[in-house]
């Protein structure tokens, strides 16, 4: 019996014995079905483990049992792994260790059934999602059979949440598939479909869902003989060879460090355990897993990553309508404007299976759009991410139009035409006459007001902002802008559309810059002011990369394009006044048509993409440092990062005061997914909370007094702590409750 006293039980936990069914379909065969009544998607939570433990005990006592099948309630449902909420709630390493030990011991006993009993075969019959703990349960069985259906996703994503596979995954996977592949699976956290999993040896056989139970029973009862493919010599040459595993581990460590700058402890711990696993006893390796997870799970990185995971899961609820049903993403999508944004939105929409019609008056732009789309699809096909028929379908789903006609079927039309109100009014006016009554008109504007665009439309309540980020296919955030009249169905449908495109939506108010650009404004401007004040540009970028940003602010400006950045800065200034006063340092660069990556040169020199050369810092930047800008004193890298990020925190507090976004959680989600704010820090305001409001206020006040800040227009206003922050400092409050 598992002792659950003192451990967190999920809300509405059912009575003992109800989460698992034990069946005997034929003499000698036991079938354990994971079927917890309290979960739509079963989770290996304590109630389930408790009942599984009782079921296994039954098998252990049953001397006539010769085979065991563990399966889900149907061929497309297994279990979603460990209980993330429970892990998030634990702060005591000893409690974590107990939870880990419960799973480890249970899985060890399942493994022991086949290793200690002569001729006993256990089979995990998996279909649907089986990540993390669910896959580890399978690894404890003799064989794993997976349903070849598109819902099946198998892998060990724990490191993505700041922990590592602790229920034997880090121990058994390297023994099953070898150290190099196990490291790939565990460090990337990728989930594989059934066929990929079979190819890689993560599972032993695939079958149709209708055959799952029959095949699993046949294997368990030895009517079908399965042979685990042996690693042969490479087991001895690689996995059991200390020198080889040491080299592999050090290479992996190098790669992880290059990517994470050491901010994430979990992958490093995983490398250590996985590379040693084949040469350790199972017990010792499990002990190492346990110790690592107990330390990691209570650490801030794990908490922050789980928190972000929770926020992105919560974002999926945005597609719920007031009556609780989910809005459906439109099957027909119109996109107006085939610029960089429009064509990428259209291509993504077509890839995701919506019939998409892209309009532009410039034929050449449409040609580029089609060719780029086809090239993207071809790339996916070549990488075997999609089959030929899927590639054909993706290509078929994008059509182009030189005239603003043929959009009658569209359930949503996204405009990404020139940022001019009259142009937007014109195209939306034309479109509104064509589409059916329920159709949504969404604008990808970044500098105009959604209300202004909606004005004059026959159905302003069906108009919203849908603000994508560049590059569309890579940036995971979409800001859904709620205009004054936007109704709930429109918001939910926009969210469903964004989710269908694989994006994470966040709802924001119709205020200049929405959230992400509003925060980026002072951040980028501060970086430019430091440059203008004589700080080494390499140092500025390095400081923020060290802070954890995916790229430095000057690199980001190169990506965005100086003209675009300047335009955004000016519209923020117009909306928010002096605290957004933009520096003029970009003027000289723009005057020379030096606009960043797209012109080949900005702060960095960008060579041809195909040569894979890293951009290097331009050598002539000194001549763009204005002579009249206030000099900045010598700054540590830490001070550089703090100044730029604190400028964002102050603006974030103001954005919350203005109700630009509903909550600190959503604002954090926007910073992580929209600007790449380091996930291990949990988001801008989690980071602010770790500093504390009092400290922040003090530092902001100090920054406002800095001579170079005080000397420039709007400098003081920018760093002047907003009222809500001062209140927070006074009351000892935080942005996030608890």
């Amino acid at each position: 019996m598992i002792d659950v006293t003192g451990l967190p039980m999920p809300a509405g936990a059912p009575a003992p014995g109800t989460c698992v069914r034990v069946e005997q379909p034929e003499p000698g065969l036991v079938r354990i079905v994971l079927d917890p009544p309290h979960r739509k998607l079963p989770v290996l939570d304590l109630p389930l483990l408790r009942d599984l433990d009782v079921a296994i005990e039954k098998v252990e006592r049953d001397a006539t049992a010769k085979g065991l099948v563990i399966t889900g309630r149907d061929a497309r449902t297994f279990a979603a792994g460990a209980d993330i909420d429970a892990i998030a709630a634990l702060t005591d390493p000893a409690l974590v260790e107990r939870v880990v030990a419960i799973g480890q011991n249970l899985f060890q006993r399942i493994a022991a059934l086949s290793t200690t009993r002569e001729g006993f075969v256990s089979v995990a019959a998996i279909g649907g999602a089986a990540p993390g703990g669910a896959f580890e349960l399978g690894l404890a069985c003799s064989f794993i059979v997976a349903c070849d259906v598109k819902e099946t996703r198998i892998g060990l994503p724990e490191t993505q949440l700041g922990i590592l596979p602790g229920w034997g995954g880090s121990t058994r996977l390297p023994r099953r598939v070898g150290v190099p592949l196990a490291l790939e699976v565990i460090l990337t956290g990728r989930l594989f479909n059934a066929r990929e999993a079979r190819r890689k040896g993560l599972v032993d056989r695939t079958c149709f869902p209708e055959d799952l139970l029959r095949v699993a029973s046949n294997i368990a009862m030895k009517r079908e003989h399965l042979e685990r493919s042996s690693r042969g010599m490479s087991e001895w040459l690689v996995d059991k060879n200390p020198l080889a595993t040491a080299i592999i581990a050090s290479k992996a460590r190098e790669q992880v460090l290059a990517r994470t700058r050491g901010a994430y402890p979990a992958p490093l711990a995983a490398i250590d355990i996985v590379s040693h696993a084949p040469r350790r006893s199972i017990e010792n390796s499990l002990l190492a897993e346990r110790e690592a997870v107990s330390a990691l799970a209570v650490g801030p990185v794990c908490k922050n990553l789980i928190r972000i995971f929770g926020m992105s899961e919560a974002a999926k609820k945005l597609k719920l309508l007031p009556d609780g049903t989910a809005a459906v993403s439109p099957t027909h999508v119109g996109v107006l404007g085939a610029g960089v944004m429009g064509r990428a939105i259209a291509s993504l929409s077509a890839e995701r299976g919506a019939w998409t019609r892209l309009f532009d008056i410039a034929p050449a732009a449409l040609d580029v759009a089609l060719l780029e789309h086809r090239a993207d699809v071809d790339k996916s096909k070549k990488r075997r991410k999609i089959e030929r028929s899927e590639a054909d379908a993706a290509i078929d789903h994008l059509d182009v139009a030189r005239e603003l006609s043929g959009f009658a079927q569209c359930g949503i039309v996204v405009e990404a035409v020139a940022e001019r109100l009259d142009v937007k009014h014109k195209v939306f006016g034309d479109i509104a006459r064509q589409v059916h009554d329920g159709a949504i008109l969404a604008t990808n504007t970044s500098s105009l007001s959604v209300d202004a665009i909606a004005a004059g439309l026959p159905h302003p309540e069906r108009c919203a902002g849908l603000h994508f980020f560049n590059p569309v296919k890579r940036m995971p955030l979409v800001e859904i802008v709620r205009g004054k009249q936007t109704d709930a169905r429109t918001i939910a449908t926009c969210a469903a559309f964004a989710l269908a495109l694989g994006k994470t939506p966040v709802v924001v108010a119709d205020q200049a810059g929405f959230v992400v650009n509003r925060l980026l404004g002072p951040y980028l401007d501060e970086a430019l002011r430091l440059f203008a004040g004589g700080v080494d540009p390499a140092k500025i970028d390095h400081a923020l990369r060290e802070f954890g940003m995916p790229m430095g602010p000057l690199e980001l400006l190169d990506e965005v394009g100086f003209d675009i950045a300047q335009h955004a800065a000016k519209s923020l200034h117009a909306a928010y006044g002096e605290r957004m006063s933009p520096t003029t340092v970009l003027d000289a660069l723009i005057a020379q048509k030096r606009l960043g990556k797209k012109s080949g040169q900005g702060f960095y020199v960008h060579t041809d993409d195909k040569k894979k050369q890293k951009p290097r810092l331009a050598s002539d930047l000194a001549r763009f440092v204005p002579a009249d800008a206030p000099r900045v004193g010598p700054l540590e890298e830490k001070a550089i990062a703090e100044r730029t990020v604190l400028a964002m925190v102050a603006e974030a507090a103001r954005a919350l005061e203005d109700k630009a976004v509903g909550s600190a959680r959503e604002l954090d989600l926007a910073t992580v997914f929209g600007m790449g704010f380091p996930p291990f820090r949990g988001g801008l305001l989690v980071w602010a909370d770790t500093l504390g409001a009092a400290t922040i206020v003090a530092r902001l006040e100090a920054l406002a007094r800095e001579p170079d800040v005080a000397a420039r227009p709007g400098g003081k206003a920018r760093f002047d702590p907003p009222a809500s922050l001062r209140d927070m400092a006074r009351d000892g409050g935080t942005f996030h409750a608890g």
Binding site: W355, L370, L371, D392, I395, D396, Q409
Partner: protein, 436 residues
């Protein structure tokens, strides 16, 4: 005799891709993709909900081997609901027209009200075929059991067996008369005394008219620019038919050697239709349906007819079919404002023109008391024809109907005619009238 349709049938709308020289810009495209793309465009521009479509009918002579029923493939790839069936029809060069008339027959019979119809041909993708001998070697190798048997089969292999058969050439040869199409045109040229010079002058005029139609922007009414699959980075959509030779001269045409009958033949590659790729889609509906959808049709289909004749003289097919369609439609040649006769060969069109105007031919071959009438050359193929833009076999019938429908609007007479000769000895004709 005059035939009154039980339910009037209309062409709601239609669009086509530019036609491109085979082996050229569309060489890497395929019938399913191209047909679906133009079908989607046609549906979208008409503003019709695909849910309303009753069936998909596609004319295609050589569907890709992996899209045997390319009509079904096109339906599914054109966003037509899964429950809506699709078929492929073939009547050689008239397959595109066959698709339209199949839909019209179904509508008349009350089986449906709205049909997505297309004609499509990617002649570039006609395959090379492994010869019969080689096929037999493969078959025997497959059934051979022992290594000795296999060796015996392999030893029967000869390198000459590798010589491929060209599906396109074999497809253009009539199996009954054994004549390749060009030779049937040569026969007509001799029998109807069409000189080489007549043929070349006719060809030159076809290019001239096609160029004007393309450059004046007239064809924007029916052609949608198309960026084919396989287009390279930096490529642009093809705007208009690319086989038209802009600077063609009579001298150049005169220098070409006869292609089919050397040395005395009159048919050259210059005065024959080119081989091109292309697709054309139309929405065909009952008149009631058009009204219900609130769409003004391009034209009403007044009558259509197919007629058989000697395969060796298949080029005269339009005369036989037109004779029939005029009777059934209750019309005379004089009522027709514009005539599209497919230009398989200049000599063949000119032979048709003479036959139209021959009392003897009318009496002996058509069972008419007198000739159909003299064709006003200004009203024949006003925008050029297949000699200039080419003849993607499955597509042409649909293209002719679409062009004829648009010409109706410009003419002061009530009818337009689209007719073509059909390899194997047939003619097809469709009489269109202005929709009310």
């Amino acid at each position: 005799m005059k035939r009154t349709p039980s339910r009037p049938v209309v062409i709601l709308s239609g669009w086509r891709t530019p036609l491109a020289r085979s082996g050229g810009l569309y060489a890497r495209d395929d019938a399913g993709h191209m047909g679906a793309a133009i079908s989607r465009e046609t549906i979208a521009r008409a503003g019709v909900d695909p849910e309303e479509i009753d069936e998909v009918i596609v004319g295609c002579v050589g569907p890709p081997h992996d899209q045997a029923n390319v009509g079904r493939v096109i339906g599914l790839r054109a966003d037509v609901p899964v429950r809506v069936p699709g078929r492929t029809v073939a009547r050689n060069c008239a397959s595109g027209m066959e698709a339209i008339t199949s839909a019209a027959e179904a509508i008349e019979a009350g089986r449906g009200d709205l049909y997505l119809v297309a004609g499509v041909e990617v002649m570039s993708r006609f395959p090379l075929i492994v010869g019969d001998e080689m096929t037999r070697v493969f078959a025997r190798l497959n059934s051979a059991r022992s290594p000795m048997q296999k060796l015996a089969v392999i030893s029967s292999f000869r390198p000459r067996m590798l010589a491929p058969r060209i599906a396109l050439m074999e497809g253009l040869t009539d199996p009954i008369s054994g004549l390749i199409m060009g030779k049937t045109a040569e026969l007509l040229a001799r029998e109807w005394s069409i000189s080489r010079d007549d043929a070349d002058r006719y060809a030159l005029e076809s290019h001239r008219r096609a160029k004007i139609a393309r450059d004046s922007g007239l064809l924007k009414r029916e052609v949608v620019p198309y960026l084919p699959l396989g287009a390279k980075e930096g490529a642009h959509a093809l705007e208009g038919d690319d086989a038209i030779r802009d600077n063609q001269t009579l001298e150049q045409l005169g220098k070409l050697k006869p292609y089919f009958e050397k040395p005395d033949g009159r048919v050259t590659v210059g005065n024959s239709c080119g081989i091109t790729d292309g697709a054309c889609a139309l929405l065909v509906a009952s008149e009631d349906k058009a009204r219900a959808l609130g769409i003004t049709p391009l034209a009403r289909i007044r009558a259509w007819a197919y007629a058989g004749l000697d395969p060796a003289r298949m080029g005269l097919g339009p005369v036989y079919a037109t004779s029939k369609v005029l009777d059934e439609g209750g019309a005379t040649l004089d009522d027709i404002g514009s005539i599209e006769i497919n230009e398989a060969f200049a000599a063949q069109v000119l032979a048709c023109v003479k036959a139209f105007d021959s009392d003897t031919f009318a009496r002996e071959q058509l069972g008419r008391s007198s000739k159909i009438g003299a064709i006003d050359m200004a009203r024949l193929n006003k925008n050029g024809g297949a000699i200039a833009v080419g003849h993607p076999v499955g597509c042409t019938g649909a293209r002719l109907a679409l062009t004829a429908a648009h010409e109706l609007a410009k003419s002061d007479r009530p009818f337009a005619l689209a007719t073509l000769c059909i390899g194997g000895g047939q003619g097809g004709a469709m009489l269109l009238e202005r929709a009310s």
